[in-house]
Symmetry: C2
Subunit: 343 residues, 2 copies
DNA sequence: GTGAAAGCGCTAACAA
DNA sequence: TTGTTAGCGCTTTCAC
């Protein structure tokens, strides 16, 4: 059906291997035959069969990307598209293809990863998330298959390469921003502590408070998944404390956004009554009311770095495990404001 | 390196072809040898090399998904993740892998698509967007390669299969909702008219107005990309019209969201002074202030249907071109309200 | 029921 | 500089 290397060879009056050599630009081929072969390829509309090539060179020039195994709502988070865009941009540049696995749960993900690896469909893998005792990571580690993780591993940190932000410092920085504005009672809202990212951000928040010798109490810390009614109540509860917060560090822009709107409904408005910060600097956070002060974690770059790392690892299995920290930046907008002197 | 069909054959004391037969469950194999072979596979940890298989059967069990060639900001739109999730869920179920192409521009996309097709990396392709005179579609059409488009083709509508919403009716429905609430001066805001979706939504809006014998004037129609300062001005201009709008049909949730916040800044609040509707029913639109009345276009299902169609087309090249319309649903929330009697 | 053999399209020693 | 040859791992007639 399709035109093969043999057809080209015949047309150009050379052997198939010569054609192959021309393609790979390997060994010295006379300029004459080279031209002749290239002409034949063009005339016949030849395109190499990547499958056949992969089979013999035992490499696919493809990388598998494993999307997080998550609930539908979280998947709408722009974080993943943005990450993917970063990965894709470098992959394209490096001449790699992208295989995608969108598992519904860990089990499914694991199955798809095994299929990719065992089936020789990819040379390396990028994990866009991990969970505690992740079977996917286990598998990849024992199979000694090249992979990199985006985010912090929950175990064996030194044995695998991963790219992450310094979330502790980032959170410390944004908390300090609030402290600098005169706030003393600062709450923290984040999703489940199981997520490593949330843990780090909570940690940084606490550190900043401690360093400033400000009160830190578990009452000021709320864990929230999706702002359902129970969770809304927990947030509102903060304002019945003896010293209600005048500021909040929130671990995600979208969450911040939800909290701002929710509080507005009960007459607490941002930034007049409360300063609120986010994380991620999504495109959205410039459109919110008020525009959100947040931490830009450079999601795109996270993807680029991850892509770079897998490719390195694929090209040289002996590449050591490394940790890449993508720098962050505080973006000041109008959701935070200097604390008015209390009456 | 890896264990092959030959190793299994040796271990089970059969020929390689028998092993193959067992795998494919083809031709009658005695239960005895079947068991023996399966045992050997398990013991050796055998996994078929998908590449090798693809080479001989001339099919990859993989589908390429082409992400839109777009600016970074738009890519953060949850629409695409959500679509991808729909596609992925069906593909996984059907045992297909997903190849992803994230082109930076049309040129790059085209290159990646050619690579996929010529390189025999995929059996079919899903396009998540198309542009006017799309070279990717041209290529796919003349190559007679199985593909389906999400959204409406700008040309050759009857020759290709695509899945879409009935955006005209959807827009008509949501406009009627506003009319039913007593609004008479209704504006339309959408992105560039080049996008087929926007065109359809504009069309539906006009139809509804006409049917209700309400005034329709180009002054009430604003095209907006990303709410930059010029665009904000254009929106504000609407309120210096002799009859300023009391309601707006906006072609996208995120845009609605931006407009609501922008208007709030200039003292026009939703829904008190203006009723606003969106499109898409993103997860976000429940968290906005006010919660957004919008059209749920069932993005996930759009993805599922597209996936179904390519697979059908791959399995049977003679499958006719079809059009799948995913139903929509108006979701009433609090961004729209009955028009107060004018003073 | 099972196996021998040919071949998918390509690469890579090694010869010439 | 070019061609010969032997696979890569798998499927699939077709004969036994």
């Amino acid at each position: 059906m399709a035109v093969t290397i043999k057809d080209v060879a015949k047309k150009a009056n050379v052997s198939p291997s010569t054609v192959s050599h021309v393609i790979a630009d390997r060994s010295r081929i006379s300029l004459d035959t080279k031209k002749r072969v290239q002409k034949a390829m063009k005339q016949l509309g030849y395109h190499p069969n990547i499958n056949a090539r992969s089979l013999v060179v035992r490499a696919t020039q493809a990388i598998g990307v494993v999307m997080p195994t998550i609930t539908e709502t979280i998947f709408q988070h722009p974080f993943f598209s943005e990450l993917l865009r970063g990965v894709g941009s470098l992959m394209h540049q490096a001449g790699y293809s992208l295989y995608l696995s969108i598992g519904g749960d860990v089990q499914q993900s694991c199955k798809e990863v095994k299929r990719m690896v065992y089936g020789h469909q990819v040379d390396g893998i990028i994990l866009l998330s991990s969970c505690e005792a992740d079977p996917v990571i286990d598998f990849l580690m024992t199979a000694n298959f090249p992979f990199v993780l985006v985010g912090k591993p929950s175990i064996d940190e030194c044995k695998m390469t991963y790219v992450d932000n310094d979330n502790i410092t980032a959170s410390k920085d944004i908390t300090n921003h609030l402290i600098d504005l005169g706030h003393q009672y600062i709450a923290f809202i984040g999703s489940s502590i199981d997520i490593a990212v949330t843990g780090d951000r909570l940690h940084g928040y606490k550190q900043a408070l401690k360093l400033a010798t400000l009160p830190t109490s578990p009452e000021y810390i709320v864990h929230v998944e999706c702002l359902n009614s129970g969770e809304r109540k927990a947030v509102k509860q903060l304002f019945s404390l003896r010293n209600p917060p005048t500021a909040m560090v929130i671990a995600d822009d979208i969450l911040s956004f939800g909290v701002i709107n929710m509080l507005d409904e009960i007459g607490i408005s941002c930034p007049e009554n409360i300063s609120i910060t986010g994380f991620n600097n999504l495109y959205l956070s410039e459109m919110t009311r008020p525009r959100l002060t947040t931490v830009d974690i450079h999601i795109f770059n996270l993807g680029v770095q991850a892509a770079k790392c897998v490719i390195e690892k694929v090209k040289d299995q002996d590449e050591p495990a490394k940790r890449i920290i993508v720098p962050h930046k505080i973006i000041c907008r109008s959701s935070t404001k200097r604390l008015d002197k209390r009456v």
